[in-house]
């Protein structure tokens, strides 16, 4: 699973940066063509969902997705052969 921000929906409120326990979201720096500064992802593979959602068959953390007022955060299926590089940090 791969964490993605839908740039066409995100309004740059940075609520995701506030709630992620892994600080995966970082305030962005550059406005996109719509004038929105979309957050940047810092090693999104660390996300609990990316790692474990498939395994447990349900959303594991999902805080960022729940709080994102613009329904801009989701997880995409990844191709089956894509390598899963996981580096857990505490």
């Amino acid at each position: 699973m791969r964490l993605v921000i839908d740039e066409s929906r995100c309004k740059g409120c940075n609520l995701c940066t506030l709630v992620c326990p892994y600080r995966i979201f970082r305030p962005g720096t550059k406005a996109n063509p719509r004038g929105v500064i979309v957050p940047e992802l810092d090693r999104p593979e660390r996300c609990a969902n990316c790692r474990l959602q498939r395994l447990y068959g349900r959303t594991i953390c999902g805080m960022c997705q729940m709080i994102c007022p613009d329904q801009a955060i989701s997880w995409e299926e990844e191709g089956p052969c894509e390598p899963m590089k996981v580096a857990i940090e505490y």
């Binding site: 740059g12 940075n14 609520l15 729940m66 007022p69 613009d70 329904q71």
Partner: protein, 262 residues
């Protein structure tokens, strides 16, 4: 479940300002509804007028975006005429408690089987930031330029006194708890009232020293106190500061309900 299943994606992004808490409450509601296992065609979302009341327009189920303050009265007609429909009301503090206050207390009194979710941003968002019946005393708004001199409603207290079966309060920060509360409300026969305090950076935060979206979320986080804890403190004779937000389940009972298929 993905939110997109439940949303009219052709209408996104929605009209809410960046960082508006309403979007979060939509998420929590859709999660709760989805968890109930309800079919889309048996659910009707109803709302009045306000930023909050725009929510139903983004959801794929049948929905009725009514006049300001009247959502519960319209919803009562729907539910009484067809009790098989699950009727959920989205409303705002102004819509529910200012112009709609009467329908609110009568919905509670009748204990009609609706789930009413109030996105309480303590302000009239849609019209640009006038004071509402939940604007805290002293807070600034465009119609309280010297600070509000009126007391704010305790919406949950009012719902309980008026007779609602289920009453709970959370904030847009408490996404998991809020989702669970909505789910409990959906499952409970009778009138279920869930108050969700939400940030309105544009019209509340900006005027009240909570300029950043995160300021208001941090405020919710730091000022929320669980009902049970507050009760304990009260028993211990400790004073709970006026600006604390009591969250949690505030009433749950089983009075006879209206609009339930017999």
């Amino acid at each position: 479940m993905t939110f997109d299943e439940w949303l009219r994606v052709d209408r996104l992004p929605h009209i809410y300002c960046a960082g508006c808490g309403n979007g979060t409450v939509i998420n929590c509601t859709l999660s709760a509804v989805d968890q109930m296992g309800w079919k889309k065609e048996e659910i009707v979302f109803v709302s009045g007028i306000g930023c909050s009341s725009r929510a139903p327009g983004y959801i794929v189920t049948d929905s009725l975006h009514t006049t300001h303050g009247r959502a519960i009265a319209f919803a009562t007609g729907i539910k009484m005429a067809n009790p098989d429909l699950k009727v959920v009301v989205f409303t705002g503090d102004g819509d529910l408690a200012a112009i709609g206050g009467n329908h609110f207390i009568h919905g509670c009194r009748r204990n009609i089987d609706l789930t009413v979710i109030c996105m309480n941003n303590m302000i009239y968002g849609m019209t640009g930031g006038q004071g509402s019946p939940t604007t805290p005393r002293g807070a600034l708004s465009t119609t309280t330029p010297y600070g509000s001199s009126e007391a704010a409603f305790d919406l949950c207290g009012l719902a309980a006194a008026a007779g609602a079966n289920y009453v709970a309060r959370y904030t847009s920060y408490h996404v998991k708890e809020l989702t669970l509360a909505i789910r409990t409300g959906l499952g409970n026969p009778g009138f279920s009232f869930i108050e969700a305090l939400v940030q309105c950076p544009t019209n509340y935060g900006r005027r009240n020293k909570l300029r950043q979206v995160s300021d208001q979320i941090e405020y919710f986080k730091s000022h929320a106190i669980l009902a049970q804890k507050a009760e304990r403190m009260r028993e211990e004779g400790k004073k709970i500061p006026d600006d604390m937000i009591i969250i949690g389940e505030l009433a749950r009972r089983n009075r006879p309900a209206l609009g339930v298929r017999k």
